[in-house]
């Protein structure tokens, strides 16, 4: 099955084990948020008529808590723009960062500015009220698209990866486990990937190219090599030689380098904003990552990514993080960098965050690298503390980040803007740049993480997080393939690259990225290019990106949102971008396959993970980038 020949429509057979009679999109779990009871009632009725499973909510805060409590409980969110307790865009950002779910905005206001805002914040769509049922019938496409994008990313990363698995620390083993469990699905994907180009996985046996897990150690080695050579002069070949890691290919290094560069760039942009923040955090010495208080599960992931923690711990952390509110103030928890990454940090972070500035110093948040710093202040809005903390973290991270640069790719996930999401941030920072999805994620490469610890490892654990992707992996890959190939918009370049990974995207995007701000958005919109979208993605809403998204990269991009202008916007947007990006090629949702996975095996990933003993990472953790490789597609 996985043949590209499959139709894209929802009816196309699913490669995976899901039944082809998947009723998808029926059963799509929608959360609709609107303070207007009349509209809410009508929407609910309409969605039910579409056979979706609807949960309605009239307050954004309630919606958020619902989403947080049921991490994998919803597929898509529809929200009004004007709400009394929280601005719809804020909610959009939060959801994007924390849960990485597609969000549709709606409003009676159809002014261009507002619609644009939706786009830049990462909404996957914007509906004008009064909403007609026809408009709701197709919302499932956004879910599919997102998944596809995620898969896409992982696919690419996987295909290029080497076969051998490294024996890195725990992460590796976890990842190894993950890989093993996902091998099957991965294989499928691999087959599909073949089409994409460049990959020579013609046969099943060769399909399985284990993903390279960029464990903390490995990343440290990488960073060390890069630093020695000079960031600008470092070339994959030389780095490879210096690293002298058996089994590592030049391509692996190349893709990783790309990501790293992107990450650095993001840091560069972010640091400006964070200037002040950094100071406080510039403890530099030890990446005591500031309390990632908001580390809700996401951070944990990031932390985990740091490689410090095995996937499982990550899971724990997440739970812990999630469970615990920022009350963890443990001031001065200067958790060592590593620890920061580890789950503990998240907790600590909370406490620390509180300290923000002061306490934070020590702790370099994992987010260091994360451009999140960008807006420390912005968050001050309700409960922003977290944000601040994050900021601090970021700053801390930044300080650390300096090191970070060398250390690894701290994917400045959605940098600042996302910070609102704090949690997201945390994740971001800590998590190794996830390639694909993590839009908001944790890319943040814990810059601070003493950099070396690069969380990259986490990815393996992360993978599970996208419950969807995994589940659908088999299916998705199939569809992906098709799309990818067809999408060509990007010229299929994205896919074709063996080392295609999120990071790769960056470079391309960078061109475009420069203008994170809205200007780009405009550009982006027009350009459809995939990479550009990446940049655009950040600033603009993901929708645009979608098109571009082709590459998973977007995910990263989003995170990167550097700062620049869209900081806060990006927060939400960037995150979203990720999901959106995928869209591009995904125009045709693999539909059945993806969804089937979803629905049928919503927790396929979790199941897989469980097998591995990995905790089911929430979606939040999208760490990826590297980890995707492990994703057993």
């Amino acid at each position: 099955m996985l043949n590209p020949g499959q139709g894209r429509g929802p009816d196309s057979g699913v490669a995976g084990g899901s039944s082809n009679s998947d009723p998808f999109p029926a059963g799509l779990r929608v959360l609709v948020v609107d303070d207007d009871p009349t509209c809410l009632m009508i929407l609910e009725r309409m969605l039910r008529t579409c056979l979706y499973r609807v949960t309605k909510c009239n307050r954004a805060e309630i919606a958020l808590s619902l989403l947080r409590k049921n991490k994998n409980g919803f597929d898509i969110v529809i929200s009004d723009v004007h709400m009394p307790d929280m601005d719809g865009f804020k909610l959009l950002e939060h959801v994007g960062l924390e849960m990485d779910l597609p969000v549709i905005m709606m409003s009676a206001d159809d002014s261009k500015a507002v619609v644009l805002k939706g786009v830049t914040h990462g909404a996957v769509d914007y509906l004008i009220k009064p909403v007609r049922i026809e408009a709701l019938k197709n919302i499932w496409q956004h879910v599919v698209r997102k998944k596809r994008n995620e898969w896409n990313v992982s696919e690419h990363s996987g295909s290029v990866e080497e076969t051998g698995q490294r024996e890195d620390g725990d992460n590796n083993s976890s990842s190894a486990n993950n890989e093993g469990s996902w091998r099957g699905s991965r294989k499928r994907k691999e087959e599909e990937v073949d089409e994409q180009g460049g990959d020579d996985k013609e046969d099943t046996s060769s399909l399985k190219k284990p993903r390279v897990v960029w464990s903390v150690e490995l990343h440290q080695q990488f960073v060390a090599a890069v630093n020695q050579l000079g960031v600008d002069k470092a070339v994959p070949k030389k780095i490879l030689e210096m690293m002298n890691v058996p089994g590592l290919t030049r391509e692996n290094v190349a893709s990783h380098l790309q990501k790293y560069r992107i990450y650095l760039r993001r840091l560069g942009g972010v640091s400006q904003h964070q200037g002040n923040m950094n100071h406080s955090f510039m403890t530099g010495q030890d990446p005591s990552f500031g309390p990632l208080s908001t580390l809700n599960g996401f951070d944990l992931q990031a932390l985990a990514a740091a490689g410090q923690l095995p996937a499982q711990s990550l899971a724990h952390l997440q739970a812990a993080g999630l469970a615990r509110p920022p009350s963890l103030t443990k001031p001065g928890m200067s958790v060592d960098q590593r620890s920061i990454f580890s789950f503990e940090n998240p907790k600590i972070r909370h406490g620390q965050m509180m300290n923000s500035g002061g306490g934070g110093n020590k702790q370099m948040n994992l987010l260091h690298g994360v451009p999140m710093e960008m807006e420390p202040r912005q968050f001050t809005g309700g409960g922003q503390m977290r944000v601040q903390q994050q900021q601090q973290q970021l700053s801390g991270g930044r300080a650390v980040g300096q090191n970070v640069q060398s250390s690894g790719m701290m994917m400045p996930v959605g940098g600042g803007p996302s910070m609102l999401q704090q949690q997201q941030q945390v994740m971001l920072s800590s998590s190794v740049p996830r390639r694909s999805e993590t839009s908001s994620s944790s890319r943040v490469l814990p810059a601070a993480a003493t950099t070396q610890s690069v969380v990259f490892n986490n990815f393996s654990s992360e993978l599970p997080r996208n419950s969807f992707p995994l589940a659908s992996a088999p299916g998705i890959s199939v569809s992906y393939q098709e799309e990818v190939n067809s999408s060509d918009a990007k010229g299929g370049a994205g896919f074709g690259n063996p080392s295609y990974d999120i990071f790769n995207d960056y470079p391309q995007q960078h061109n475009n990225n420069n203008d994170w701000d809205l200007q780009n958005i405009g550009m982006v919109f027009n350009s459809h290019q995939d990479t550009t979208t990446a940049s655009a993605a950040f600033s603009s809403s993901s929708s645009t990106q979608r098109q571009r998204a082709e590459h998973v990269q977007n995910h990263h991009q989003q995170q990167q949102l550097p700062s620049q202008s869209l900081n806060h916007m990006n927060g939400g947007g960037s995150v979203r971008v990720k999901s959106e990006r995928v869209a591009e090629t995904v125009t045709c949702p693999p539909a059945t396959t993806l969804f089937q996975e979803q629905y049928n095996q919503e927790d396929l990933m979790s199941a897989l993970l469980k097998q591995e003993g990995l905790p089911l990472v929430d979606n939040e953790f999208d760490f990826d980038g590297y980890s995707f490789d492990n994703i057993p597609v």
């Binding site: 009871p37 004007h82 009064p130």
Partner: protein, 145 residues
């Protein structure tokens, strides 16, 4: 009776009180939810009455916080358009326009219109629903097509 109901409904459309959105709502009505439209309308009138009150109070205060007024009206307009209350929606738009340019007089004047249209529609719909219930819900739903 049914024919009467149908005629009344048709006239509401013809006179511009209702627009196609109302038809959308009727489409959502079925055996499982036979009174959906009426329920929605009831909810709308209840909620919009509250909004009207808020706006009234705000206007009476005389401070003319246009932003606030616009916010209220935005909400009101959203609701109204959701059930297809065409004339009400039009008046809302005008009100918002006056808010935008900061024309207090215009706001006051338009708001009276809004209330008037709102009250008129309410009466008409209540009458319509009453008849429809007498005629039998199914017919009503079908007739809407």
């Amino acid at each position: 009776m049914q024919r009467q109901v149908a005629l009344i409904k048709q006239s509401l459309f013809d006179q511009g009180y209702l627009d196609e959105q109302f038809m959308e709502l009727e489409e959502l009505q079925d055996d499982v939810n036979p009174n959906f439209v009426e329920e929605v309308a009831t909810l709308y009138f209840k909620d919009s009455a509250r909004l009207i009150n808020s706006i009234d109070q705000a206007l009476e205060r005389g401070s003319f916080d246009f932003n606030r007024l616009d916010n209220y009206m935005h909400q009101f307009k959203g609701s109204s358009s959701s059930i297809g209350a065409s004339k009400v929606k039009t008046e809302c738009t005008m009100f918002r326009e006056y808010c935008r340019v900061g024309n207090a007089e215009g706001c006051l004047m338009t708001f009276q219109q809004v209330k008037k249209e709102h009250a008129t529609l309410r009466k008409k719909l209540e009458h319509y629903f009453q008849l429809a219930r007498q005629a039998g819900p199914k017919e009503t739903a079908r007739r809407s097509k």
